[in-house]
């Protein structure tokens, strides 16, 4: 992938296609989540927040994993496209982690009786959120393009350890948060229609993530080129 590859006519076509696919995915997922999927036997209608909360968390994991790969790519090759991918993914990851935390809080109030409680999954997710906000702050406070990319890449590589910690925190520690219901050794423990809706929601969020990523990477590569042009001038 070259720096200009995402900004040509084919890139515009990819962005448009991803945008339309994201829109279609979001519409289908919304109808399935709000109409087709049955309410939970115990939690009732409030359980439908799961179709936003879980895909948001999945998208955040995906984005932060991409930050790790792109950061390693920058440290290895010093190609600017990797830095652009890393910053785009970090911003998307922070956005979706925030969304997962907010959606989780809205679900927690009627279910647990509180907006927030000090339990391992919530704390580790909040810590992951703060760490990647720190990553973005580190970038924003540095004017030197190369140095900023390198500093951020170090954090991007190290911070990936948060993903397994957040994901496994519910099994490592006695937690209030429910245990995994889909990724279980003995298969998903969920109604078929709920599972199908969740899968479609995850796919829709992944498409949105890809769309945002392509748009943001194009923006960042364009910004990088402006900075380099200014430096050359």
């Amino acid at each position: 992938m070259t720096t200009t590859a995402l900004r040509g006519s084919s890139a515009s076509w990819i962005r448009l296609s991803l945008g339309l696919a994201s829109l279609a995915g979001a519409l289908v997922a919304s109808v399935m989540a709000l109409v087709w999927a049955p309410p939970d036997a115990n939690q009732g209608e409030v359980q439908r927040i799961m179709y936003v909360h879980v895909p948001s968390a999945w998208t955040a994991y995906l984005a932060f994993a991409i930050v790790f790969v792109a950061s390693a790519g920058w440290l290895w090759t010093r190609r600017r496209i990797f830095d652009a991918i890393a910053v785009a993914s970090a911003e998307i990851g922070v956005l979706f982690t925030g969304l997962a935390l907010v959606a989780g809080s809205i679900w927690a109030k009627p279910t647990w009786g509180v907006w927030w409680t000090w339990e391992p999954r919530l704390i580790t997710t909040a810590v992951m959120f703060v760490m990647y906000v720190g990553y973005l702050l580190l970038r924003s406070l540095s004017a030197d393009v190369e140095g900023r990319a390198t500093r951020a890449a170090v954090i991007g590589v190290v911070a990936v350890v948060n993903i397994p910690i957040v994901h496994l925190s519910v099994t490592w520690m006695n937690a209030l948060h429910q245990l995994p219901t889909v990724l279980r050794p003995d298969g998903p423990a969920m109604d078929g229609r709920m599972l199908a809706t969740l899968i479609v929601s995850v796919l829709a969020f992944t498409l949105i993530c890809a769309w945002l990523m392509v748009a943001r990477v194009a923006l960042e590569t364009s910004r990088q080129e402006r900075v380099l042009d200014a430096r050359g001038a």
Binding site: V127, M131, L138, L141, G147, R151, I155, V158
Partner: protein
């Protein structure tokens, strides 16, 4: 390794000549010990879960103070370039600072611990276990903070950025250290040693990780 010892010895000599970083850290810890009983009340402050937690939070910020001061000293007259020219380069700088700053923070921790025991009238059921917890607990603090200070070395927002980067990364260390010290206070030898074992593992992981990325992180 010789380069690391050279850096450590140089760092400790500089601290002995101008102990402003150490003095600031001790004052900070002492101030926190003094105010904790007023803020949370003397009974709560003495609890074996509260006193160690406040102690380690104070030490974490003390570690940020002494590490920042240490790098400021290097930047003052571009001395860092001379240090990087020593055998071992960036790895030696990281390892040397880790050794010296762990020793300095341990000294700050001992003064802070004595103050806390005296002012809060704490009964230390297992002093040896508490010393083990402090000795192992202080290693991870500079291991992480040195990298964060190095990453933000010439940035204008460093004072705010270092805690933002260091505190989340040190969460496992804070939990393990608080438990190890709390159980030493309450007399649970096995529990304290188990958490101290985890502290050793955390210290090793952070130190190895720090050594791995020091070459990239230190400009």
């Amino acid at each position: 390794m010789r380069g690391a010892w050279l850096v450590a010895a140089r760092e400790l000599r500089a601290d002995a000549r101008h102990p402003d970083g150490f003095a600031t850290a001790v004052t900070f810890v002492a101030a926190l010990v003094l105010i904790e009983s007023i803020v949370v009340g003397p009974q709560v402050a003495r609890e074996t879960t509260v006193a160690p937690a406040l102690y380690w939070i104070a030490l974490l910020f003390a570690a940020i103070v002494v590490t920042t001061r240490s790098f400021d000293r290097e930047l003052a007259d571009d001395a860092i370039d001379a240090v990087l020219a020593l055998p071992g380069g960036r790895d030696a700088l990281y390892a040397g600072k880790l050794i010296a700053l762990a020793a300095t923070i341990a000294a700050v921790g001992l003064v802070g611990g004595v103050l806390q025991i005296a002012l809060l009238d704490l009964t230390l059921a297992l002093p040896g276990h508490a010393l083990v917890a402090v000795a192992l607990g202080v290693i991870a603090l500079p291991a992480v903070v040195i990298i964060d200070v190095a990453l933000t070395l010439r940035l204008r927002g460093r004072a705010a950025l270092v805690p933002v980067l260091a505190v989340p990364a040190l969460l496992p260390q804070l939990v393990a250290a608080t438990n190890a010290l709390g159980l030493a206070l309450s007399g649970d030898a096995t529990g304290s040693l188990a958490w101290s074992g985890l502290l050793l593992a955390i210290a090793l992981v952070y130190a190895v990780l720090g050594l791995t990325i020091a070459g990239t992180a230190i400009e």
